[in-house]
């Protein structure tokens, strides 16, 4: 069942224009573990990306966020959230979810 929309806001580290393009082309969103954590997760804000938030991406997914989410934050942890896959790149583990619709507003 489609979940969302969710959005991520442009930032200089984890949501750059380059990353947005990769997300758009790959059909996936990846997320690293937080500092000190071994558990990678994709994290996003709920709702559409409104103009006041600036640049970013908006997406829907068939994967339901984990129960540890809150009204203002959605998260998909690898291992704990059914449907989340593990990706590895340059020795790092990433949680990965597939999007079902995607708007790139980080040109």
């Amino acid at each position: 069942m489609p979940q969302g929309p969710f959005h991520r806001v442009q930032n200089p580290h984890t949501q750059t224009a380059k990353i947005a393009k990769m997300q758009e082309l790959s059909g996936e969103l990846w997320g690293l573990p937080a500092r000190g954590s071994g558990q990678p997760a994709v994290k996003a804000y709920p709702g559409p990306l409104t103009e006041d938030k600036g640049r970013g991406i908006e997406f829907t997914t068939d994967i339901e966020p984990m129960p540890g989410s809150s009204p203002n934050q959605a998260q998909w942890y690898w291992k704990w959230t059914p449907g989340v896959e593990l990706r590895q790149q340059n020795g790092k583990d990433y949680a990965c979810i597939a999007w079902t619709s995607f708007k790139n507003m980080q040109p």
Partner: protein, 233 residues
């Protein structure tokens, strides 16, 4: 119990467990910038005793980010009862009224929707601590009634009930009466900030004492050294 401000971020992932309808500035002056995989944020870290650690954060993209703060616990705290217990302790020890809790773990929610309790408005008990916080943020820790009236709306999201006109003083809102009463000399109960020794009266206002600063440190609002302050000021 004392809420201690921690200088460093937790070295473990954190999970959101409550949303409080108060600004970060209302809760603490010790605010730092941070960033994680979600986004950039402003936040603060706290400890109560040896067992409880929690963070207050506001991410740039949070809804109602100007007037709410989200309480995070270390990701390894997963027992529902323990989560509920820690959230309750943190809120109580920071002197945040229960009515300010807009959501807490265990309550159902819709993504992107947070509602403030209709009962949440400025009452005298909270106003006592609020004016102490505001005065402590001013030069020399002194605030006049005029200063308090200017600053209260910057610290506290006034509800429609707060802004309603006072039935007794037609030219003032209810929250202004609450602040006035909290400051007024006829309020002589044992729980006033003056009776507690947290503040003393100065012309047209109040000054936070060393004991008052110790109190604000004990609820996580500040972590300033008070050792150089004289005992009586």
């Amino acid at each position: 119990m004392t809420v201690r401000v921690l200088r460093y971020e937790p070295d473990i992932d954190v999970t959101p467990h409550a949303i409080i309808w108060r600004s970060l500035r209302y809760c603490t002056l010790v605010i730092r910038d941070g960033a994680d995989d979600l986004d950039q944020y402003k936040g603060a870290s706290f400890a109560i005793g040896n067992d409880i650690r929690f963070d207050l954060r506001v991410y740039k993209g949070h809804i109602h980010s100007e007037v709410t703060v989200t309480l995070y616990l270390p990701e390894d705290v997963r027992d529902k009862e323990r989560i509920s217990e820690i959230v309750a302790i943190a809120i109580k020890e920071m002197e945040i009224p229960v009515t300010a809790v807009a959501w807490r773990r265990g309550q159902q929610f819709q993504f992107g929707k947070i509602e403030r309790s209709p009962q949440d408005r400025l009452k005298e008990r909270e106003a006592r601590v609020l004016i102490l916080k505001i005065a402590a943020s001013q030069p020399e820790r002194v605030a006049t009634l005029d200063t308090l009236r200017k600053e209260v709306p910057k610290f506290f999201d006034l509800s429609p009930a707060d802004k309603a006109r006072s039935p007794s003083r037609k030219n003032e809102s209810k929250w202004q009466i609450v602040v006035r009463n909290t400051m007024s000399s006829h309020t002589t109960g044992t729980r006033t900030i003056f009776a507690q020794g947290w503040a003393k009266k100065v012309p047209n206002g109040l000054k936070v004492t060393r004991r008052g600063m110790d109190y604000l440190n004990s609820i996580g609002f500040s972590d300033s050294s008070t050792s150089d302050l004289p005992e009586d000021v």
